[in-house]
């Protein structure tokens, strides 16, 4: 590895850490500014998530869906397509798995079979739906952000139709589906922390995703197309097909996340608005620099911030929404190429002038 490349990598990491620190400081400043008891709010935010087993479990619970949507965005982002359909897919998949689980209730399938079936259906569902904006964008060059966001609204209303017309439990006063049959739910493997077996599914998918992304021709093609489409065309990679495949896989992963979240965490389907998991996935993928290996770490970081906000929200009157603002700031800072770039360039310049490279320094 060349020296320049090494410096660049070091600065990439430094930049992400700096961005997170700035965002973290920003949160603390906001907490101090608006809280009646700043010390308590800061304690609750920073230490609170680790203070009890239950709360720490909450971080893991929150991280699991973010890992899936984060991987999803890694694939979309790897081919430079900001396909945001993960947001709509997440809720759609949760709704559809509930619907199918309820429809198959009478058959009393064995648990393993039932869960596997539901997960496979969610994967197919995600792939098929993500194909729509992908093909519209690839063939017609329509703006993918607009198409995917419009599609998200359509998916949201579709879930609401299914919820209110097909699976609604008429015995409860609020809009919620009937209770998900027990044979479709993911087992709680660490009950005191509320962690469900979705974490095992995540571990399995982790291996598959990393192999696909780094060790398979398809994954290689995606990375090449993303970093240099012209070169990809010259070496004979089918650019359009690769771009679409990446988005289909990304959609399938986000959708799988929705199913895991629904079967692991919820008794009923009762979401009536978009859940932000898809958008969180963007932040996770950006922080991980579209590297699926790092996604679990960055998902954990974001989940920690979310859990901290929730603890603060529960113990005081500060709304958890400021976390969404923080996510935006993190994206801006990580994405800003010029953030810390002068220091990086100075380092590269210095190393180029160093005697080891055979150049004489004038200074």
């Amino acid at each position: 590895m060349s020296k320049t490349r090494k410096i660049e990598i070091v600065f990439e990491i430094l930049r992400i850490i700096a961005a997170l620190l700035i965002a973290y400081l920003f949160i603390l400043v906001v907490l101090v500014a608006i809280s009646d008891e700043p010390a308590k709010a800061i304690y609750n935010f920073s230490i609170g998530p680790f203070s009890t087993v239950r709360r720490f479990g909450g971080i893991i619970q929150k991280a699991i869906p973010l890992v899936f949507t984060g991987w999803g965005m890694c694939f979309m982002y790897a081919v430079n397509r900001f396909n945001l359909v993960g947001e709509g897919l997440f809720i759609m998949s949760a709704c559809m798995t509930t619907y199918i689980a309820l429809a198959l209730e009478a058959f009393q399938l064995p648990k393993v079979l039932m869960v596997l079936l539901l997960l496979v259906i969610s994967i197919i569902l995600g792939g098929v739906i993500a194909f729509i904006p992908a093909i519209i964008n690839a063939k017609l060059n329509a703006n993918i952000i607009v198409v995917s966001i419009m599609l998200n609204y359509i998916l949201l209303y579709l879930t609401q139709y299914i919820l209110t017309r097909l699976i609604r439990d008429t015995e409860v006063s609020y809009a919620a589906s009937r209770s998900i049959p027990l044979n479709a739910r993911l087992e709680k493997i660490i009950p005191q922390a509320g962690i469900h077996s979705g974490i095992i599914i995540m571990a399995i998918v982790y291996i598959l995703v990393v192999i696909l992304f780094f060790r398979m021709p398809a994954g290689y093609a995606m990375r090449v197309v993303g970093s240099n489409p012209e070169y990809a065309k010259h070496v004979g990679i089918k650019v359009t097909a690769t771009i679409i495949t990446a988005q289909v896989i990304g959609g399938a992963l986000a959708s799988l996340g929705g199913a895991v979240e629904q079967l692991g965490m919820n008794d009923r389907f009762q979401w009536t608005e978009l859940t932000q998991h898809g958008m969180n996935g963007v932040v996770v993928a950006v922080l991980a620099k579209k590297n699926p290996i790092l996604v679990p770490i960055t998902a954990f970081l974001l989940a920690y911030i979310k859990q901290g906000a929730e603890v603060v929200n529960r113990t005081s009157d500060i709304p958890a929404e400021f976390i969404i603002v923080i996510q935006g700031i993190i994206i801006l800072l990580v994405a800003a190429d010029s953030f810390l770039s002068s220091a990086r360039n100075r380092m590269i310049f210095k190393s180029a002038l160093s005697p080891a490279n055979g150049l004489k320094s004038n200074s």
Binding site: I34, F82, L84, I136, L140, N141, A142, N143, I145, V146, V147, I149, M150, L151, Y153, I154, Y157, L158, Q160, Y161, T164, R165, E273, M279, V282, V286, P319, E321, F322, I323, I324, V325, I326, Q327, G328, I329, I331, L332, A335, A336, D337, S338, F339, S341
Partner: protein, 323 residues
């Protein structure tokens, strides 16, 4: 309600529902001319909507409310251009980030100001932009119901379309904007500061989007509620994409989306069981509109490209005040 009255009301609602989309499309149009997509219009309008409500309640002045809406829009536009042009962030990511900040920030601010997360309704004494009855026309049966009694901001949307057209095609600034959009290097070579022109475009775009936001919270309804735009900014953006940056075309396409919106509202009453499918109509129409127009454009492909190149060459050859 008589039949003619019902038709008049329907046509009236088309204009009303088109207004925010027109502002969004015009805002998108301005930056599109400089070669940049403004995908944060949704966030701009949302922020402006909150800002208008808050400042109209504080100052008890409609004009100041609208102005602060525009100012908030411009501020966001400024942030985008700073991040994108000075901070060198990817534009797509910047806009996603800005939309996130606007979504979370408005809800957060809403809660800090009013103590509720839902709406400012009854919490803030905000004002309404007055509606105008047009003399004579208001007495004509269908036409009167359709054209009279709209909010000032609805009428101004069409004036604004004309102003944007003037700006882009008839002013020095507009010429420079188009020049930057066509070929930034050529613009640079004749001494135009690309960064400055793009920043100015974003500031104006933000202000126009801000008008749309002000319409939403001071006219369409008279309060702010979270996520009240429900994708209208993106619909406007696609109206602009479809027409490739022409202000007049973008306005007309926005009206088409307004028709879809108005039809959905009417169907909602009649087809109660399918209300969720009816709500999808504007979004489906938007996707279909993009698909159809892009398909037509690709079929015309070469011819169209030829024209653009020829026009560009002819255009730059004739213009002498590029300095």
């Amino acid at each position: 309600m008589s039949f003619s009255e019902a038709i008049g009301t329907f046509l009236f609602s088309i204009f009303r529902l088109s207004t925010p989309i027109i502002y969004a499309a015009l805002a998108a149009c301005i930056t599109k001319q400089t070669g940049l997509l403004n995908m944060a219009i949704e966030g701009i309008m949302l922020t402006a909507a909150l800002s208008s409500v808050v400042f109209s309640a504080l100052t008890q002045s409609v004009v100041l409310g609208v102005l602060f809406g525009m100012l908030a829009g411009s501020l966001i536009g400024g942030i985008i251009s700073y991040a994108n042009l000075i901070g060198k962030t990817e534009l797509y990511l910047t806009c996603i980030a800005i939309n996130l900040i606007a979504t979370g920030g408005t809800t957060f601010a809403l809660y800090m100001i009013t103590g509720t997360k839902g709406t400012t309704f009854s919490a803030l004494p905000s004002l309404e932009v007055p509606n105008i009855d047009i003399p004579f026309i208001k007495d004509i049966p269908i036409l009167g119901t359709m054209l009279s009694g709209h909010s000032i901001l609805t009428y101004f949307a069409f004036v604004c379309a004309f102003l944007v057209w003037l700006l882009i095609y008839k002013t020095r600034l507009g010429l420079r904007m188009r020049c930057v959009g066509e070929n930034p290097n050529a613009a640079l070579s004749v001494g135009i500061s690309v960064t400055r022109i793009k920043t100015v475009a974003y500031l104006i775009s933000g202000a126009v989007g801000g008008l749309g936001g002000a319409f939403m919270s001071m006219s369409y309804v008279t309060w702010f509620s979270r996520d009240m735009l429900a994708g209208r900014g993106f619909i406007g953006l696609s109206a602009n994409n479809i027409t490739a940056g022409s202000p007049v075309g973008a306005t007309l396409f926005s009206m088409l989306f307004g028709i879809a919106d108005a039809s959905a509202n009417v169907l909602q009453i009649t087809a109660a069981g399918l209300s969720y499918f009816v709500k999808m109509i504007p979004y489906i129409i938007t996707i279909l509109g993009m698909v159809i127009m892009e398909a037509i454009r690709i079929r015309k492909g070469l011819k169209f490209k030829d024209q653009v190149v020829r026009k560009a060459i002819a255009g730059t050859a004739n213009e002498k005040d590029l300095t």
